[in-house]
Symmetry: C2
């Protein structure tokens, strides 16, 4: 990331999906959950150019199929409705019809085109949506459309603890553009997407094909580089809506400020991804793995994901044990091209392995470093120019507790 571009971006501390011009959001309690908000929406004053990336799981849930079909057909989304507590996954033709009915009802209530409604669900697999509750949520959009993004961010959570949002501003053609996002994560977060939903809004005017390409590119450097437990869910989706209300010249790869826009999209995506990783089920720490010197960015990414996915690395970080042998071990089984005699490993600033051999280091300093909230593991393969970063969290008693009892 060039310094120049970074300087052109301004992080907006409390920005959220309603910070870009023309977006509203809200959330209500419909009874899907006992008392927590369980149904949320985002609405744009005008149809927004849309792009999505979707789970690779063969059991892709019905709402994803309906949303993907609509974006493929119209290229636009104006309203997004999301329910938690029920994933509407592995629900067959009835589940598919329920997703279509949700979309149709939302279109009717908001007076928008059916193909301009995106639907998303997260929660238990294999149970049909209780449609009367879903309709109750959709009808609430009529009266209380702009309740604020915090209610939306809360309504989409499942076993997440904290709401997640990020926003950034920059200028395009002299207009102030905002990109902002909300997300939910927690268990089943893994590379290739997981029970992870992310919704990104922007008031920039962007060409659809370019928006889609940019989303794919930044997703590979953000949401696809996080893991909580390596499981990939049926319901993962990232959507971006660009409503063009700042009236810049339409952005595409040929626009002089295209790279600034992509940088902004990447910043928001990576911030959300890190918040998801940090809030993994039972997590006490964010683990960041930075790999460089790889034969390619792809090789660096695979090595980073092998390390961040290792239960042994995750438990060692939980226990603040500077056990670099487990990191080396994960590098070794990543099945990537590398020379074991060139590998270096550092925990923060403390180098522990050089040229594939252990260095003397203070165990105490290592433990102290690992006691921090954010732990960075650096691996240099000294074998090329490729680099990548992956994020994850520690593996704790609480993770086991949550997942031995919670019905996903």
């Amino acid at each position: 990331m060039a310094q120049l571009k970074e300087k052109q971006l301004k992080m907006i501390e409390n920005g959220n999906v309603t910070t870009p011009k023309g977006f509203q959001a809200g959330g209500v309690h419909t009874g899907l959950r006992k008392s927590r908000l369980d149904f949320g929406w985002i609405h744009s004053e005008v149809p927004a150019t849309a792009a999505g990336v979707y789970t690779l799981n063969a059991f892709r849930a019905a709402p994803l199929q309906v949303t993907k079909d609509s974006i493929d057909k119209s290229g636009k989304i104006q309203t997004i409705v999301v329910n938690s507590a029920n994933a509407n996954a592995v629900t067959g033709p009835e589940g598919y019809q329920n997703a279509l009915d949700t979309q149709a009802k939302a279109a009717e209530i908001k007076g928008v085109d059916v193909d301009h409604v995106a639907v998303a669900s997260t929660g238990i697999i294999g149970v049909q949506l209780p449609m009367e509750k879903i309709y109750k949520g959709i009808e609430a959009m009529n009266d209380e459309v702009n309740q604020g993004a915090e209610r939306f961010e809360t309504a989409i959570l499942t076993t997440d603890i904290v709401t997640k949002h990020a926003a950034v501003q920059f200028e395009v053609d002299g207009k102030l553009i905002t990109i902002a996002g909300a997300a939910k994560g927690s268990g089943m977060i893994a590379p290739n997407m997981a029970t992870m939903l992310s919704f990104i809004t922007t008031d920039a005017d962007v060409e659809q094909a370019s928006l889609e390409k940019a989303l794919r590119s930044v997703t590979d450097q953000s949401f696809n580089m996080i893991t909580v437990d390596g499981d990939c869910s049926t319901n993962d989706m990232v959507l971006v809506l660009a409503n063009g209300m700042q009236e810049n010249n339409t952005l595409n790869e040929n626009h002089a400020e295209w790279s600034v826009f992509v940088e902004g999209l990447r910043y928001v995506s990576q911030e959300l991804a890190k918040q998801i990783a940090r809030d993994g089920e039972g997590a006490t720490k964010l683990i960041e793995v930075k790999v460089k010197g790889a034969a390619s960015d792809k090789v660096a990414g695979e090595v980073a994901k092998a390390i961040i996915s290792s239960n042994l690395v995750k438990t060692a970080v939980y226990g603040s044990d500077p056990n670099w042998g487990r990191i080396i071990c994960a590098v070794g089984y990543s099945e990537q091209p590398l020379d074991v005699n060139k590998v270096s490993v550092s925990l923060g600033d403390i180098q522990v392995v050089q040229n594939g051999l252990p260095l003397d280091f203070s165990e105490e300093a290592g433990t102290t470093y690992l006691e921090q909230d954010i732990v960075t593991i650096h691996v240099d393969l000294n074998n090329g120019e490729g680099e990548a970063t992956a994020w994850g969290c520690d593996l704790t008693y609480e993770y086991v507790k949550i997942n031995a009892s919670y019905r996903t």
Copy 2:
């Protein structure tokens, strides 16, 4: 496995690596550990035809390299020495020399050819072997060579709780042949081998190339189908020694009873693999995943490994939660060819998914089933003739506890 072949095999309840004719074993305490046995050996009266399979980890430990080179060169092994507490991995040229010195000293003490000694290590990574303790262990072989297999089985354990052994007998050319094995496992057990050591002895006479082929084949259906936490270690190895002391006609693929021998080798390997999975760190249950109806055996194996490796499946089994959604989810992200509308899932005899859709079943019966010590998950892809079985264990508080504090 044909019924006929099964009938030709006789399981030997308390058989061990010294049950085949001409093998001795023992174990001593050298001080590598505080008080537990930490150095063990197996010795054959005559040089035995040998074959090995070794970890795919790029950081392959020095003793594996030394052992592999010797078997590649001589095709025979007469003495195996194993230490626990120190893996002699990521130890550079000094570690390699220590492995050579261990081999040379053992050859001298036992009066065997240097290339007829196999060395193996398991324990902490990145620390040089304290050679005076290793020599102490080697010298003990002189006086007390046949202390019994139980001391050997104990000496090779790390965080394992129980010793592991299996044995089977059958006839070849009218001679009673025994195949027996010992193993260590626990954490870092994964497909493609892990901190897993297994030593198999037999008094059959077997051609080296055939023995190697048979070992590879049965390893893919046993040790490569188990997982505790998905981490693949630097030190994994399976060795088989065939000393020919029953004086059968040399076995190879053309021998009428070859398939009985392979079946016996498979039985011992699978029994040891299951014992390793059941004794995974912190495990309370053995999980067996049987996949059939796949496009090929390979596809079935990948699907089985995706399920057995899922932390969410493992925690659900720990909590006795009949949460089939997590099984379906793992099937879906296995990236294998399958039709989601044909998939069936059963927990023991309780079918929970048919043609990709949930069935009504008694949650209580599901929970009761999962409370057993051995849990079998059946998946039928209804998409071909391929089948495979994988074994693993549940993920528990105790796993986190062991790995947040134990230095691997």
